[in-house]
């Protein structure tokens, strides 16, 4: 017995909040397509209930045997716009209700895949799905949605960008929580285990298990031991820590895959924070030497962190996938919340940060009277960063009805709380009104 190593592992789990953030079962619904939507929904329901029957039970068994919390058990499915397109239905709420019912009966935390991929244009199901989004997001509980509006290979569909601004506004009018369950992507990945953006890509196997690890607290604690040392030492420490954290994900994913008789897909090497004290990505950046996240130097520190997490994790598991990097959701990170409240972190800096980390403008509360075109323009900016830099970017902004800059919005649980942040008041409406497609960048022509 190597007692020092045992002690280190125990310390990571008990004191530094190391956990497996999610086990996500991806399920293809391509074999459920039917021109009769009632029959399609029945097939979808039966397939999910059969394949994921033991998902929650196995997750709980692993938690008990290995003493590591597995925070979420989730399901992702093939984008519903593809599945539902064969039916003549004009709205897809029925499909969302089916997903919601299956998720509730199985006891999973979320089900993702009420999604459309429209980076180059709409097929018949895409528009109907997008039009159903405000109702779906406000009237179901566990269904997560995503719309991919751009990619490095295709450019940015500005008609979709314009429409998503309106969808977000409409959803915010209907329900406070609606937009927490939806992400607008550029370069969406097909094996992402994290919500709200998870869906099961059409190139994936029939059923697959993907795992998302976590552990900002562990990284922060490890960095406390290299105070004042050069940044090479910081990068090295993050790599070693990420390696250990990822090994945990690889083990749990392997075991879950064996017990569920489902192939193991990928480990997503993302550092995902929670609002709990000591579980913050912002506090890692502050440990590197910033007085507050959001000040000058934040982008550089985040770039170092994001890269070192990948380098450390990549050898620790068989297949890396998903988003893999540091998440910077404002409302889900105690350090981000504090900096946004103090005014040291603003949306412009967050946008810069998204150029070097794994996602985008995430869980940011904005004034309820923000125009739809401004939201669309925020989406366009993020999509441009993703498109040009060959990376995934996403927007999950939350207009808070009736609230002004500085007022607090409470989402509860892992979604946390956030102060309403200021957006630029000058109009982007004329640009958004143009619509059309922003062409793919020159460096996308690689063939």
């Amino acid at each position: 017995m190597e007692t020092e190593k045992i002690k280190e592992t125990i310390h990571m789990i008990s004191d530094e909040k190391l956990d497996v953030r999610t086990i996500t079962m991806g399920i293809s619904l391509l074999d459920c397509i039917d021109s009769d939507s009632d029959r399609a929904c029945e097939r979808i329901y039966r397939k999910i209930m059969t394949k994921a029957k033991n998902l929650v039970k196995v997750g709980q068994q692993l938690e008990a045997e290995y003493g590591i919390p597995i925070i979420n058990k989730r399901i992702s499915v093939t984008p519903i716009s593809i599945i539902a397109a064969a039916s003549a239905d004009q709205d897809y709420f029925k499909y969302a209700q089916t997903l919601d019912r299956a998720a509730k009966e199985l006891g999973v935390n979320f089900i993702g895949g009420f999604s459309a991929l429209v980076q180059k244009g709409y097929q018949s199901g895409d528009l109907r799905l997008i039009n159903s989004l405000p109702q779906v997001l406000s009237e179901t509980d566990l269904v997560c949605a995503s719309v991919n509006v751009g990619s490095t290979r295709s450019g940015i569909n500005m008609d979709a960008v314009a429409q998503m601004g309106k969808v977000i506004k409409d959803a915010a009018e209907r329900s406070f929580m609606a937009n927490t369950k939806m992400v607008v992507f550029c370069n969406a990945v097909e094996d992402n285990p994290f919500m709200a953006g998870a869906f099961h890509g059409v190139g994936e196997r029939d059923v697959v298990i993907n795992v998302g690890v976590s552990g900002p607290g562990v990284v922060k604690h490890a960095l406390e031991k290299v105070k004042g040392q050069p940044l090479d030492a910081v990068a090295e420490t993050i790599k070693k820590t990420a390696f250990k954290v990822t090994r945990m994900g690889q083990l749990i994913g392997t075991l879950a895959s064996e017990r569920l008789h489902v192939p193991f897909g990928i480990v997503d090497l993302s550092l995902a924070p929670t609002p709990a004290a000591g579980d913050s990505v912002a506090q890692i950046l502050e440990e590197i030497g910033l007085e507050s996240v959001g000040t000058h130097g934040t982008t550089a520190a985040l770039a170092l962190l994001n890269d070192a997490v990948k380098k450390g994790g990549i050898m620790a598991c068989n297949h890396v996938g998903g988003l893999s990097g540091a998440f910077i959701p404002v409302s889900e990170d105690a350090g981000m919340i504090a900096a946004a409240t103090a005014g040291t972190l603003n949306i412009e800096k967050l946008e810069a940060m998204t150029a070097v980390c794994s996602v985008g403008l995430d869980m940011i509360a904005i004034p309820g009277d923000t125009p739809a075109e401004t939201i669309s323009a925020m989406i366009a900016d993020e999509a441009a960063i993703g498109m040009i830099n060959n990376k995934t970017t996403a927007v999950r902004v939350l207009p808070i009805k009736g609230k002004k800059v500085g007022e607090m919005a409470e989402f509860g649980g892992l979604l946390g709380y956030a102060p309403v942040m200021a957006v630029n008041a000058a109009s982007s409406a004329a640009m958004i009104a143009r619509g059309g497609l922003i062409p793919a960048p020159i460096h996308s022509f690689k063939n």
Binding site: T3, K7, T9, I10, E65, L251
Partner: protein, 95 residues
């Protein structure tokens, strides 16, 4: 081995030192017919810290129930007792 598989787990006991901790834990394990393979015990940062490698004879052992019983025992003894299958420690620190 008559089809009985053996699995190893690490039982950790951490808390304020006092009379009867080792006796309490060992008695519990013996009642459950759980064999102790190795023990290491020390005082770290004023905390009593004991690690035991134990052997469970049947894969079907109910870890959830066992963990609850160990929680209760820990409360009686004023310490925290956890059991984890040993693979988690190997996975994290060995290639």
């Amino acid at each position: 081995m008559n089809g009985v598989s053996i699995l190893k787990a690490i039982l950790t006991t951490i808390g304020k030192d006092q009379v009867g901790i080792i006796a309490g834990v060992s008695t519990f394990l013996s009642e459950k017919k759980i064999n102790i393979l190795d023990v290491s015990q020390t005082i770290m940062d004023d905390n009593f810290t004991m690690m035991m490698m134990v052997e469970l004879k049947d894969e079907s052992v109910d870890f959830t129930a066992l963990a609850h019983e160990l929680d209760d025992l820990g409360k009686q003894l004023g310490v925290e007792i956890k059991i984890r299958r040993e693979e988690i420690y190997h996975a994290m620190h060995q290639l």
